[in-house]
Structure formats: structure tokens, C-alpha cells
Amino acid sequence: MTEYVSTTPGLFPLPDWAKDDLSDLKGHQKHDLISGDEDDAITAAYDEARDEVVGVQQDAGLDRVVEGQLRWDDMLAHPLAVNDAVATEGIVRYYDNNNFYRDPVVTDELRFSGDVAEELEAASDQTDGELQAVLPGPYSLADLATDEHYGDDAAFLGAIADYLEGELEAFPAHETLFLLEPSLVENAPDDGEDERASEAIDAVAGATDADVVVQPYWGALEEKVYAHLLDADIDAVGFDFVANQEDNVYNLQEYGATDDVSLGLADGQSTLVEDPEAIRDRVEWVFEQAPVSDFETVYLTTNTETFYLPYAKFEEKLAVLAEAADLAEVKAA
């Protein structure tokens, strides 16, 4: 029987009070953003905000709870932005969005930081077996960064994968790991690079005992990229069915899927709040298209991060996902 797991890819919006408080505490300029050595007042504000979003997820009834990545001023580039071997340079566009992050320029050998592990530790105390870790996938993190140390793309991707492995090994126990890989869609790897991307993901996935979900978004993977990704030892591939249905279905039909899948069915970038029933119906529709009789686990999630949303709409989306997973479970039973 299929298990339905409601979750999110993390990177939440800050509660509105925290937007105000942290604006005042930190400032609005480039050099005011998180570098990993913030003072006690800032840490306390983030701790409070983290407690709040963990509570919001638990109240909504989500099956997996993330710590929210509220400190990730640079979005998916955060794990590099806090590293000593990285200089955070000019503000650059975050994919095709009206959002910006500091270009992380890697100028030296990447060494362990432990920054993300600390955040998870803080959330770990509040959760009971439902903790989900979130990291950028190695391909996306390398794609978002600028290399001035390793010299070539393959070496850089390998170094980023090594770095993420080290970070991941320091994480407290977690049930699931989401590796976010929008660059696999937005800046698809070429021949040879696609295989290396899959190997890098495989290496990172090997550093945790948790179930690993690789979530690409803003479209469907090119078929070769998808085929290579299936070679990695991961538990689930994610599909952004908000941005693209046809090509995702094509990939499923032509190449099959992992035993578990993650379905991005609620729009992480729209304030239009979906009906839980509509999401449940879309799950069924995907199953009808896929050439498998059953998936073991189906993660129901927003297609993208949710920091794009006003806070109240974000809360509504979480509730919809939780309810949709319950409905699907009932239907399946």
C-alpha cells in the first residue's frame, strides 16, 4: 500500500514580525546578510521564528517537518555563503525570479562548516521522528556559485559534493533529506556533465541513512538527465507538475521511476490556494499516466520553495498539503 507523506522543500518565508525585527537587527544591505557569525540578538530572533514555523507545520499536520531555512538569505546558495573559503560578491538574480542572492565565489579549498547541522539540531529538539533535512543538490549549488579555486567544472562539482557530504554527516538524525536541484532543469547539464551530476548526487545521498528525495523544479528534466538521475542511489525523484505535466509524464512513461516519488502539485509561487481534493485528484491522474502499479511512498509537496509567498498564504498551502495527503490515504485504503 502506498504511503502518502505531506511535506515541503523548505526555504520558508519569515513570519512577518521576524521580517521586521531582523530588518532592524541586520539592515538592508549586502554586507548585512547572514555570514554565519551573527550575534545573540539575531540568533534569538531566528530561534523564535524557527520554533514558530516548526509549530505551524506540526499544527497543519504535515508528515515531515523542516527547520524552515529561515536564515538562508542567499536561498540555495546559503551553505556556501557561510563558508570561510567563499567570498560573497555582487547581488545576482536567483534563476528567473525577481529575487537576488550574493554570488558566492569559492576562492579556497572548501572545508567543513557545520552551519546547516546547527540549524537542524535546533529543530531536532522540537520534532519526534518527522524531521526532514534540506540541502541544495550538488549540481545546483555548483551552478549558483563561481569557482576561482578548483579550476574546472568537474573538479568543482566534485568538491561541492564532498563539501555537502561532510555537512550532511554532521546532521542530527533525520527521516528524510530533500536535495533541491532546480538547476538540473534551468541550466541542464550537457553530455558527460549529466552523468557527473548524477554521480555527485549519488555521493551526497550516500552520506545519510535517511530517505533521499531529489527535487528538480521549474519544469521537467531533459530525458537524458532524468535517465542518468535514476542511476543514482536515491529513494525518490521529484516532479514539478505545476510547471510542466506533459514532459514529466513522458519521462515517467519512457524511463519509469524510483520506488518512491515526490509530486510537486501545489504551486509554491502562487497565492492561489489549491483545493485538497484537486490535489488528490491530480495524484490519481499521475498514477493513471505512470506505468507502475504502485509507488511505495508518495511525497506531496509544493513544487518550489515557499519563500515567494506572503506568510499567511504559505500557512494555507501547508494545511492543504497535509489534508491532501490524508485524503489520498483514505482513498487508497
Partner: protein
């Protein structure tokens, strides 16, 4: 060669034969007391009421319009003293939008990104009062900047339309209605601001189609400009030459004219409103420097087709720096005009810039 559309803004007593129209993109630093007035107005415990705040905005609009006049600009704006943010201001005036709270742009910079939840409709005029007030406050021609429909669509959540293009076209019809009212009130110079085009340059056809809606039935003599900034222009040129506008207002000083060659081939057939001062440098460029920048424009278009303005809105600069940039720009424009009159400037148009060694 004459350029009737542009020459309608030529001052009667203009000293030179050549005329390089000087103007601004729109926004200007708000006087500190205006921000204070806003705080008082928003403070429920304070007696400063809506009338008081309105008066403060009137005072600021008059002050900045006159500051533009003093700097010598040929076409002035009120510095957008009444506008808070370029999307929010319009979204509050258009039926169909609702606000659900701030969203992140970057770091701790947020924006009240609205949602379009029903069909957009024209209610009351957005800018006629603003225009009439400004026109009364000066003898110079007044330009009216309007956030373009593509940007109004892209920088909102779209819950109501099939896609952002449909929303943009619906908004373009409203912009058209507003321009008709502005023209009735006497406006002759409208600028459509489309910064969102820089994010998604592949959508230039949508912007072009929206502009067709915007200019529908607008008299020929009304000057329509399009402001685009901070993008890769090679992805929208030469396609934009097909747009039904008289002028393109482009940011180029910020990149030290590294994208200038894009506009040399094919020939730039519209008027070029060239950014000749960088709004991200908090220091006024010298008159000599701006003269050199103006000459960059002459590599693309003849003087008849050249208009001068800063790269973008100057609202983030200290006010005295913003003023210095405008005053120097006007002085530089008059110097270059005089040099052109005397035949001292010999610039080959359309020739690519030689690569630096």
C-alpha cells in the same frame, strides 16, 4: 532633418540650433520631511490626518518639480512624490488586485507583492490629478511615467488569468484608458516603465503586443517612450524597433556603454533616450564626463533623435547628488549642442567600437 514629435518640447528661447532634450526617468529622492509626514499619517495616535498628508505630498511635488526646473531640464516630472513603489501604487488603484503581505526580494528587502484575484478593471483615474497638479506647478512640459502592464502583471501573483500575457493585455487596455484621460488633461509625453522585461527578455513579444493595446487611438503627436533597464539588450534588440513607441529610454552608463554596439546594427530607427549618468554611483559625474557619455549616443543616432536622461530613477541617491547629476547633465547637453552647431563634433554613426587591447 527635423523631428516634430520631439521638437514640440523644444523651449521657445532655446539657445542652440541643435536640441538634445533633457529629462529624467521619473523618481527622485523624497524630502526627509515627506517621509516624516508619512510616518505621522500612519501613526494612529497622531492627529496628522489625510488632508495634512495630502498637503505634504502637494508641497513635495511642487518642490521637486521646481527643482527639476532649476536644474534646467527641458521636460520635468514631480519626482513621483506621491508614489510609494512602482507596482503597489498602481495595484492599489486598479480593481482586481488584493494585498496579502510582504514577500522577499533579497535579504531583508521586501515588497507588498499583490495578487490579481479577479478581472482587472478601471475605476478612478490613477494619475490625472498628479499630472494636473504638476503641470500647474511649472511652465515646462511634464512627462508622465506609468508602470507598464507587463511589469504590473509579472510582479504580481496571477490568480485570475490564464497566463501573465493575458493579464498584461488586460492591464494594457486600462493603461490605454488612463492615457486617454491624461491626454485629455493635456499630457503629451508618456513613459511606460517595463523593468520586468530585463528578467524575462524572451517575452519581448508580449511587451510589444501590450504596447499595441496601449497606443490604440492615442493621437500621433503624443510622445510615448519605453523605459527598460538592467538587462541584456542583445536579447531584445532589434525586435523592440517594431514596438509602436517614439522613444526608448535605456540604462547604459552603469555598464560604461559596454552594450552600446548592440544598438548600432541594424540602425536605431526610434529616438534614443540615453542614460548619461549612473544612478548607482553616489557622486555627480563631471560635465566633461557627461559630454563624453552624450557623444556615445551620437554613435547610435543623429542629434535629432537623441534625448538625455539618467540611467534610471534617481530616488535612492542623496538629494544633492541627484540634483548635481541633473544640473551637470543639462550643462553638458547645452555644451554638446553648441559644439554640434559649430561643426566641432565628428562622430561616425553605426561603427562598432574597436575592442580594447
Amino acid at each position: 532633418m527635423s523631428n516634430e514629435n520631439k521638437d514640440q518640447f523644444r523651449p521657445e528661447n532655446h539657445a542652440n540650433d541643435n536640441f538634445l532634450l533633457t529629462t529624467v526617468v521619473g523618481s527622485y529622492p523624497k524630502p526627509k520631511w515627506l517621509n516624516r509626514a508619512k510616518e505621522l499619517y500612519e501613526d494612529p495616535d497622531h492627529g496628522f490626518d489625510e488632508d495634512d498628508y495630502q498637503e505634504a505630498k502637494d508641497d513635495a511635488a511642487r518642490l521637486i518639480t521646481q527643482e527639476h526646473e532649476r536644474a534646467g531640464l527641458d521636460v520635468v516630472v514631480d519626482g513621483e512624490m506621491r508614489r510609494n513603489e512602482m507596482v503597489e501604487f498602481f495595484a492599489h488603484r486598479i480593481e482586481g488586485y488584493e494585498f496579502n503581505g510582504p514577500v522577499k526580494v533579497w535579504g531583508h528587502n521586501y515588497f507588498d507583492k499583490p495578487s490579481v484575484v479577479t478581472e482587472v478593471e478601471y475605476d478612478e483615474s490613477w494619475l490625472v490629478d498628479e499630472y494636473e497638479f504638476t503641470a500647474d506647478a511649472t511652465d515646462r512640459p511634464v512627462k508622465v511615467p506609468i508602470t507598464g502592464p507587463y511589469t504590473l502583471a509579472s510582479w504580481a501573483f496571477n490568480e485570475a488569468y490564464e497566463d501573465d500575457a493575458e493579464l498584461a493585455y488586460a492591464l494594457a487596455d486600462l493603461v490605454n484608458e488612463e492615457i486617454e484621460k491624461l491626454v485629455e488633461a493635456g499630457a503629451r509625453y508618456i513613459q511606460i516603465d517595463e523593468p520586468a522585461l530585463a528578467t524575462t527578455p524572451d517575452d519581448h513579444a508580449i511587451v510589444g503586443e501590450a504596447l499595441e493595446h496601449i497606443v490604440d487611438d492615442i493621437p500621433e503627436e503624443v510622445r510615448i517612450g519605453l523605459h527598460v533597464c538592467y538587462g541584456d539588450y542583445s536579447r531584445i534588440y532589434p525586435e523592440i524597433l517594431e514596438f509602436p513607441v517614439d522613444e526608448f529610454d535605456l540604462e547604459l552608463a552603469n555598464g560604461d556603454y559596454d552594450q552600446l554596439d548592440v544598438f548600432k546594427d541594424p540602425e536605431f530607427t526610434a529616438d534614443l533616450a540615453l542614460g548619461v549618468t549612473d544612478v548607482h554611483v553616489a557622486e555627480a559625474e563631471s560635465v566633461a564626463q557627461i559630454e563624453e557619455n552624450i557623444k556615445k549616443g551620437l554613435e547610435v543616432v543623429p542629434p535629432e533623435q537623441l534625448v538625455l536622461s539618467p540611467d534610471c530613477g534617481v530616488k535612492l541617491l542623496p538629494r544633492e547628488v541627484a540634483y548635481g547629476k541633473m544640473a551637470n547633465m543639462v550643462e553638458a547637453a547645452r555644451n554638446v549642442e553648441a559644439d554640434l552647431d559649430e561643426g566641432n563634433i565628428d562622430i561616425e554613426r553605426g561603427a562598432p567600437t574597436p575592442a580594447d587591447d
